[in-house]
Symmetry: D5
């Protein structure tokens, strides 16, 4: 059973000079693409003006999720907050998976 | 230019009895499907154990977003928090839109 | 894959008089025993002096966990906070499951 | 009378290089096993993505608990928060200790 | 083994009119004297200008402490926060219990 | 008129090596005993697992209290929070000072 | 020894209609003038746009201060926070009390 | 029109050794006296046990106030919070300025 | 000297039915236009999804500002927070007022 | 569609000595004027006594806004918080854009 998680990451200043920072960024971009291909990193956005991001991550459980975080080259610089998510009957993606709309669950948003 | 927003909603207790609550939920489900079809409501998840949700919403600007919220039958019961988002170079969706991977922007997560 | 969750619950005052409160408490005790037998409610403690508890819950994912909460007769009175947990190499229970101690993972607490 | 405590630990970055960190982790794992055998460290989980853990600790009183913390090789790096716990009538472990279920205390969760 | 706890209490407005409030206060004063005689309520102070107090309570464990709180006639109106305490080597009372000062433990305050 | 204060102290890491820390702790223990003999330091407890303490201090006013803090060898490392206290009619010590119990003030706890 | 206190007050909505509110305000104004004449209420300011005030109060100790608060006709509606103050060597009033400026204590602001 | 402001200052540790700190303190004391003579610094108190102060400052507007702060020799070490104040009808100083008490404004404290 | 203030307003639910709410809104719109014409209300924005706004207000001092707030028909429903502002050398409006750009003050943003 | 944003910036201490700080400030002033001419930086104010500012920024979306922040010479020292804004019917600027006042939208402030 795949679970989705809302994840917030805050990046501390990178020590070791600009060259090392550039290197780490490139390694991070490579690792991000791998996690995306494995279906673990689903979406990621910048918080405007901040060294922070919000992302949607997918994993079987928190151990797999934790291991994905640890595999990030920038892991030592990240302060990570995991918001566990449950599925919502009004989620457009849930509704698409249902064959007919009449069969779709009905509930007020956030209830 | 379409923007994406991370939106948190907290639902206050509904007054007026169970019948009214059921009615409002059904109207909310209908309106949610409309907003999903218009591409405004992109994803929505329950916070487990709480009358709260996290969602990804899409709009041209905050006025269109605000009007979408006001159109929800449960609007009077919602405490809404909007987190503005900027695009991230490692976002899998951004990368899919780029023709070749070599052309994809490279940056460390959250930088 | 069974996950464990640390769960905090705060109970709002029960309306409807003492008789109704007594009834709800008894139904809650019955439901708690059922959830314990299903292996979902693992441990639960009172916060001394408060209408709050801390518990260890087990579920396949957040949907099953959410449904367990909703099944509680007192659900409408609860403010629930879910802390997702990952397994820890020094956890005594993890170590018991390993055949020999030499094979046990080694890591500092909290690392 | 043995008491149980919910304990949160946050680990600061270890100074002195990777070798020292590896050494400290191994010493911590050894000490954890000793505390587990003494029945003081009951359970411990990682907070996914963070250098933090949640644990269930058992001690006669806060002095014994404090001494157990001080005995950890990583103690100087830990920010520890102790949540005192009282027993709950619906706790599965309490109920197991009672001979017959009819004799078990009955109370709503969190009351 | 007797433990000491620092306890903060906040009192919500009493409903039912002035007569009932006066009655509850008198019952509370009686119960306070009983708890003091049993050695459970050790000291109590008002927070100036607020319906709050700070107290030093003594109990064998959190169950006995919780039961003492529940026995207060005003319990339903109290928001209680328990701060667990460990003994301090510089505590004047600890030092008085030691026969000779040379034998007293020595440590900096708060270490 | 002697006032009592609830005082929380948090101790920052001591710089200058273990020897200096040991020295400062011994000086602190000596100064603590002096303040206890002067009746200014009344009680002090450790927060379990933390470099923090809670204490009951007695002084004529905040100037005398401030001077007592400044006289501590560890003062430069302390973050101090003073909670002013007023006397409570149910305080066991207040009641002991009254000749007859019938004359003791009566009030609900925390009122 | 007179102490000074910085006091913050937040006023809850007054129940009982406009007439009762007007009456209470007038009684409060009368009582304020009395406290000012006794030298207990020294200064008072409004927080612009809020039902809150900041004041400088003077009293022998927290018991006298608490009694002054309780004597306010609006006391039941007030949420009061007391900030204890110590004298500062650079306080203009302290310096005025010193005969010659050369004798005035010298210290950096806030040290 | 002179306005009054409630100002909180927190002083960071001074770098550069004891001699420099002593020098800065003396310069600060001198500048404080100048600001007091200009009527800008009205009152100042220590927060007991902390490197913080509360003060009453007077200025035409926030620009003049800001410039007064910048002129402090310790400015680089200060974290300053400005609480804007409006005049209160019950303020003893306001009432003294009014010729007759009958003409004084009447209002409940904090209204 | 005109000062500018950043003002946050939170609007509580209006009691008395929809008709009264509509009436109050119209009166509020009228009063807003008057305050705008007087140059007191400079700009106002909605917080998307919330009954809150941010505004730029202009007044001689906090008394005039407070009186403007009190004159709002919705005043009883508002929780207002005033952020005092000082002028910034890089403010485009300040720079426009200066005859030549060479004469404009130069400073880093926020310094 | 141009959006407006309320932006708070906090400036960390600049390393590298006074000369470098002066240089950065001058570059920042130059860049500020450019952003003002492009209509992106609309207004900016100092928080009195603090290395913080509040500003009104204008951009097509959060990507353009983020890029404007990144272009600031002081960007590495800034902690930026973006408050998204929606237009308000009572905004004086909105009303000016409407041809006749009768056509202006009417709503209570903050509704």
């Amino acid at each position: 059973m795949i679970m989705e998680f809302l994840v917030h990451m805050k990046v501390a200043p990178i020590d070791g000079g600009e060259e090392r920072e550039k290197q780490l960024r490139e390694q991070e971009a490579v690792r991000s693409r791998e996690l995306a291909k494995q279906g673990i990193l689903s979406r990621i956005w910048r918080v405007p003006g901040r060294r922070e991001n919000w992302g949607i991550w997918r994993a079987d459980d928190c151990d797999q999720l934790h291991n994905a975080f640890v595999s990030l080259p920038l892991f030592a610089y990240l302060t990570i907050t995991v918001h566990p998510l449950a599925s919502h009957p009004n989620d457009p993606e849930v509704q698409t998976r249902c064959a007919t709309e009449d069969a779709a669950p009905s509930a007020g948003i956030a209830l």
